[in-house]
Structures are given as C-alpha cells and as structure tokens.
C-alpha cells in the first residue's frame, strides 16, 4: 500500500477538482498570452473561459464614457458541487488622464446626491484612493449566471484598472467575461432584476426607494436578499424594524398598539405635550420604544385619556397615547404619505395602528 502525506492527498484532490473545470471547457492561458495578461494589457477571459491563476490579474482600460453608472459582468464558476461565496474578488481603481489616482467619488450621481437623497450609501469598501471592492459568487458547473458589480465612474476617470483574484490558495475558479467596464444608462435596475442580481449597490438603491415610499413589502424582499448575500448586522436590524412595524399594523400577537388609557369621568385632563424619553431614533423596533414611552406616560396620566396637542413628535405622542389626529389635519395629507418621525410608516399605517387590535396574524 502506498502511503501519501496529507499535503500530497490535498494536491491530488485539487487536481481532480481542476480537471472538472477543464472538462467543462475552461483552460489555462498559454504562456505568451499570460505575459501580456501580467502587463494588464489583455482582457484575460473576455471570449474564452479561463482558469484563474494563483496571482491576481488586472486589466487597464481607457475610459471615454465620462461620469455615470458602470458595471463589470463576469460568469464565475467553481469546481465544487455547490455555490461558493466570495469565490473571486474584484477591485476597481480609477486614474486621471496622466495616471494620477483619483482620490474621491465625483460621479454625476454623487454630485447630484442621488444616493444621499435616497437615504442610502454605497457600503462597499471605499478608501481615500477611490477603489471599489466586491466579490463574486462561484456557481457550480452548468448552473452559472452572469453576475454584475455596479459602481460610479468618477468624472475625472480616464483610466480604470479592474483587478480580479480568486480567494484562497486552494480554490479552483473559472471565469468568463470582460474586465472592461461597461456604461449603464439607467442607474437603477427594476426591482425584479435587482433581486435576481447579486449586486449590493443595486439592491441598496432599490432599498432607498422602498424607504422613501414606505414600501415595506419591497423592503423586506430586498433586505432578505441583502442579508442572504452579505450577512450584515445593519440589514438584519433594519429587517427587524420593518417587520416589527408590519406586525404592529397587522396586529400580530396583540402588538398592534398599546391598550387605550383608562377613562375616568371626573379626572383632570392631562396634557401630553412632549415626550418623556428620547425621541424614537429608528435604530430599533418601534414597538419597544412605544412600550417604554407608554410606561413613562402612565406614571403621570393614569386616570384619563390625555390631550395631545399638535407640535413636535405629535405622531409619536398620539401613537403612545392612542389618540387619533383631528380629522381636518389628516385629510389634508395623502394617506400614503410617509410620516417623517417614523421611517417606513405612512399616514394610513399610523391611522390603522390607532384602531382596536385584531388577533389575526
């Protein structure tokens, strides 16, 4: 019997894996070609499916498109029988006409504050030298789909360097597609396309729109996708906040709203004109904030429904005290209009929160 060391066994195993990709039509680049690739002058896998070598590869592209939304589209294949997270990483850096590194984001969308207005930011790592990093999923052989990574092309960019690397020494990754950035006319993908994509930027743009319009249904889909793809705690918390509001509006588990304050005929009316605790920050579920503020209110106004005058945070105060707004003020606003004090909540939602809770889920 021939004994093989662990290292030898691993090498043999990796060879077997590599053969799987070779069988699927991927090839190693010839030596002469690799020399040009190493000079970052040749688009490595633009037409032919290639195996990614150990060392990272880059492509320098001239850019005449000006500022705007651009993307790189690649098909990444893993030799493993299952989807592999972060199988390949990509890094995009931008240079001016004379090769100087561009330091900060200067895209039209950034200048116009598109992302700021939507209340979202591009959360991928951005250093002082403007550089966008992202990763691609590796799909098993025969189950691949092209993946895009979107980014803002700075105004001054004349040269773009796109660098790709496989993550981890032991991986065998095949790639097909051009490292040359392409222009995207429409900055935001339709929702269905964004959900199908694995692009964080597009999903965050759609999330911003959902937030602006208080569309919790879309937001939940987008957040679920983002959590699956990126597993970021911030997204998990936002989903909790959105679902908490949904539960409150739908009356899940009797959490729709707080119980009405007891009415006692001869009690002196109490004026609830300002919040007792800090204002709701929207960084945690609203139901928790309501419970605490209601505990505070109950200490003072136990015996009669309070009077809730208009003023700062009147929506929140009315929600705590379960006192609806006067009719004329409500009618002057659209029911689907968001309430500034409470993200993800429309006036209609707010009104429904003041109705008696139902026990249905």
């Amino acid at each position: 019997m021939i004994f093989r060391s662990q290292g030898q066994r691993r090498t043999a195993h990796m060879r077997r894996i590599e053969f799987k990709l070779l069988d699927a039509g991927f090839s190693k680049a010839p030596r002469a070609l690799m020399m040009l690739v190493r000079l970052s002058l040749l688009d490595f896998a633009a037409r032919v499916p290639r195996l990614l070598p150990k060392r990272s590869l880059a492509l320098i592209s001239g850019w005449k498109g000006g500022a705007g939304e651009a993307f790189v589209e690649l098909t990444v294949t893993t030799a493993l029988p299952k989807v592999e997270r972060a199988a390949a990483s990509i890094q995009i850096s931008f240079y001016g006409l004379f090769g100087q590194k561009i330091k900060s984001a200067q895209s039209v969308f950034d200048k116009l504050g598109v992302f700021d207005k939507l209340g979202v930011s591009d959360k991928r790592s951005v250093s002082n030298d403007l550089c966008v990093s992202d990763s691609f999923f590796g799909d098993p052989v025969g189950q691949t789909t092209p993946q895009r990574t979107y980014f803002s092309m700075p105004t001054e960019a004349r040269w773009v360097v796109v660098r790709i690397a496989r993550r981890g020494k032991g991986r065998r990754i095949g790639v097909l597609g051009s490292l040359r950035p392409q222009m995207k006319d429409e900055p935001i993908l339709p929702l269905a396309e964004a959900l199908a994509s694995r692009d964080e930027r597009q999903l965050r743009l759609r999330l911003g729109i959902a937030r602006k319009t208080c569309n919790r249904r879309d937001a939940k889909k987008i957040l679920a996708r983002l959590i699956y793809l990126k597993q970021l705690p911030g997204d998990m918390q936002t989903l909790r906040i959105v679902e908490d509001l949904d539960d409150m509006v739908a009356g899940v588990g009797g959490r729709r709203s707080l119980p009405p304050i007891l009415t006692i005929a001869d009690a002196k009316p109490f004026i609830y004109s300002e919040l007792y605790g800090p204002v709701y920050s929207a960084h945690y579920p609203l139901s928790k904030w309501l419970k605490v503020e209601r505990q505070n209110l109950d200490k003072y106004s136990r015996s009669a429904p309070p009077i809730v005058p208009s003023g700062p945070y009147s929506f929140l105060r009315r929600l705590v005290a379960r006192v609806p707004e006067e009719e004329p003020e409500v009618e002057s606003r659209s029911a689907t209009m968001p309430i500034e004090e409470i993200p993800w909540l429309t006036l209609r939602d707010w009104q429904s929160l003041l109705i008696e809770p139902s026990d249905s889920i």
Partner: protein
C-alpha cells in the same frame, strides 16, 4: 452575543485541542499502565481491575466523559484509542474491554463502495482477532444508521457483524432492538439498557431566564424555540423553518427561533441561510456552541425542538430536560425519557402538521411551572455519575453472571 459565543469558542477550542493531544501522545500500552496505576490508587485489587478502551473518541460531545465518570470507582480504567490498529493485548494483567461507539467512522477513508466493503471486512477481522485474544466487546448503539451514511448497505453489514460479535450491547432507548430489526438482528441476551445521562453538572448554569433573554435581545414575553446541535440535513432545521409561518399563524404570535450548532454541508447551510434571511425572528448561530454558552441558550428558550427525521437517542433532549425546558422529539425518542411525560412531546415524522402541533403543546407545557420541576427531577435522577454507576454495575453483573 455572537462575539461572546465566539470568544468562549476560542477558550474551549484550546482545551479540546490539549485533551486530544494527550490522547495522541499516550500509547495504548501506556494508557493501560496508567489505568492500572489509577485503579490501584483507588484501592481496586488486581482481581477486580478492568481496562476499557473506547473507540472512537468524540471531543465535541461530553457523552463519553459522562458515561465513564464513575469508571475508576467501579473498577474500570477507561481511556480512548485513536485508531483501531493501536489496540493490542495489554501488557498489564487485567481483562480488556473494547467499547465501540460511532463505528461508521471506519468508513472515513472510504471513497467508493468497494473501499467500504473492504473497511467492513477489515473491521470484522479486527474484532475477531480481539475476541480470539480474549478481549470482550462492548457496543453502544447510538443510532439506527449513521446520520450521513455514505454507504448504507455496507453500514448495515458493519453493524450486523458487530451485533453478532459483541458480548455486551448497551442501549439507551428501550425500543432499540425492535427498531434495529429492520436492518439487523440483536440477540436479546446481549442487551442491557442504561438511559442517556442528563447533563446535570456538565454545563455552567448560573444565568437566569430573564438575564439570558436580555443577553440575547429577546423580549420578556416572546415565545422562544431553540434548535440545538450540529446542523445536518437529518436534523430537520430546514423543514422546521419552512413550517414556521404556519406555526405562527396557529399560535397567533411572532415566535423567536434560535438555531445553534456547528454548520454541516455548505450547500445545506446556504438553504438554511436563504430561509432565515427573510425572517428577522430567526437567528442562526452557525458554530459549535461551547460549554460555557450552552446555558444561556437553554435558559433563554421556552421549548427545545428536535425536528429530526430519524433518531434513536438525543443528547439535545437530555440537555433540554437538564435546564427544565420541554422538548419536542420524534415519537421514536419519547420512551428514552421516562417520568417526564409533560416535558417530552412526541411528533409523527410522517405527518406534516404533527410537529407544529407538538410545539404548541410544548409551549403550553412550558407555561406550567410543574413541567420544569418534573424535568429537573429527571435530570437529578439521571445525572452522569449515577448513570455511569448504573452502567458499570450492570456490566459487572453481566461479567460475573457469565453473560
């Protein structure tokens, strides 16, 4: 909380590494000598001393430590062996027992069915050789078949062969013989039943329910379910998540779910993450939970759910009972815990809605303080030391009775 669990993981990892290294360094002969010296120091005479070598050792599961905890005082020097090849006739003069546990590990190196057939033949030959050398064979049947049986036919043959060769077969589920009969026969006179021990005194237990809930970000009144243990397909976490919406609709409450355990196959974990990502009330702690953190999860939850598709015994169910938490298990597992009827709720693995119904019953039971009391009493009654004493007492009586 993830970070806390992670830190604990680091400390525990070092400990486990050290113990496994000790076992790797110490040869079989030295372990036999050490065992004999330890027995002698306990006042065990030459005629009463026994050596018990167990295989394979599980470092992530305290079961073997629990089962052997009363070994020395009962005249058994217990130690583990890392490979079957290392087992030899002891240099010291004492009867040797080889105690097999999760024997499917003999297939670890097998890549094809042919390899597996060879592994079976080698294993049986190895056991025959030991028997010829006067070694007594003990086998604890943990499962009908291993959970991830790569070679089910060969594994049945492996088990059947060991059942035929073993002198003593330890079972923890009274129905083991009947359940195994679909695969292989076990002679009734070889069997002795000693239940799975509780985890009384095994894990830290100093946090209160309220504190544990606060630590995990759970609202005081929210119902909480815990799925604990390695996240293999057979553990049914995916099916449970798929039925969670229906469960919530039935209960009328948003239920918080914790799924905690070492991840298994990556593609299965992807399915779990995909399901959990849309549910903020589901938290997946995809890592081995170290002993120091176990009590936080069990104290925080209301009910422990074991939605397994098959099983013979469950350490998770015993852990739940130890912390006074009702547990939902497949019907097949209910007889393993006697005297805690309200605290162990069975479900029919073939009926879709049975699991959710059982969970609702268990949640109701959790609201009754008597349930916790009954479970705690079971835990004390079946604490490791007492179960270990029962195990060795039974084994000794079998030896002296010439069984």
């Amino acid at each position: 909380m993830n970070k806390t669990l992670g830190r604990t993981l680091g400390v525990g990892g070092v400990m486990q590494e050290s113990f496994s290294e000790i076992d790797e360094i110490r040869t079989f002969e030295e372990a036999c000598v050490d065992a004999k010296l330890s027995l002698f120091s306990q006042g065990i005479g030459l005629e009463e001393a026994n050596l018990l070598a167990c295989y394979p050792r599980s470092y992530n599961n305290p079961f073997q430590d629990m089962l052997y905890s009363a070994g020395l005082e009962n005249g058994f020097g217990c130690f583990s062996v890392n490979s079957l090849d290392s087992i030899k006739v002891p240099v010291v003069d004492a009867p040797l027992f080889i105690h097999y546990h999760w024997i499917h590990r003999v297939f670890n190196q097998a890549e094809t069915a042919r390899d597996a057939v060879r592994c079976v033949a080698n294993f049986h030959a190895h056991v025959d050789q030991l028997r010829d050398d006067g070694v007594q064979i003990v086998w604890t049947i943990h499962n009908l078949l291993s959970h991830r049986a790569k070679f089910p036919d060969e594994e049945v043959e492996l088990r059947a062969g060991l059942a035929a060769r073993a002198d003593h077969i330890h079972i923890m589920n009274p129905a083991t013989r009947e359940l195994c009969a679909q695969y292989f026969e076990i002679e009734a006179n070889k069997i002795f039943c000693v239940p799975h021990p509780s985890y009384y005194g095994v894990y830290g237990d100093y946090t209160s329910r309220a504190q544990a809930r606060f630590d995990l970000g759970i609202m005081p009144e929210q119902p909480v379910l815990l799925l604990f243990g390695s996240l293999g397909r057979y553990k049914g976490a995916k099916e449970f998540l798929m039925g969670l919406e229906a469960l919530e609709a039935e209960s009328g409450e948003r239920i918080r779910v914790f799924i905690a355990g070492a991840p298994d196959e990556a593609d299965y974990m992807e399915e779990i993450y995909a399901l959990a990502s849309a549910r903020p009330n589901v938290t997946v702690l995809g890592q081995h939970i170290q002993d120091g953190s176990v009590h936080v999860l069990f104290r925080a939850c209301d009910v422990v759910v074991c939605p397994y598709d098959i099983g013979l015994n469950s350490g998770v169910a015993a852990t739940a009972a130890t912390f006074g938490r009702p547990v939902v298990v497949p019907d097949i597992l209910v007889p393993t815990m006697t005297g805690v009827e309200a605290g162990v709720v069975g479900f029919n693995t073939r009926a879709d809605e049975s699991l959710n119904r059982a969970v609702l019953v268990a949640l109701e039971a959790a609201r009754n303080p008597a349930t916790q009391e009954v479970l705690s009493k079971w835990s004390v009654r079946n604490q490791p030391k007492l179960v270990s004493q029962r195990f060795f007492a039974t084994l000794k009586s079998r030896i002296s009775g010439g069984v």
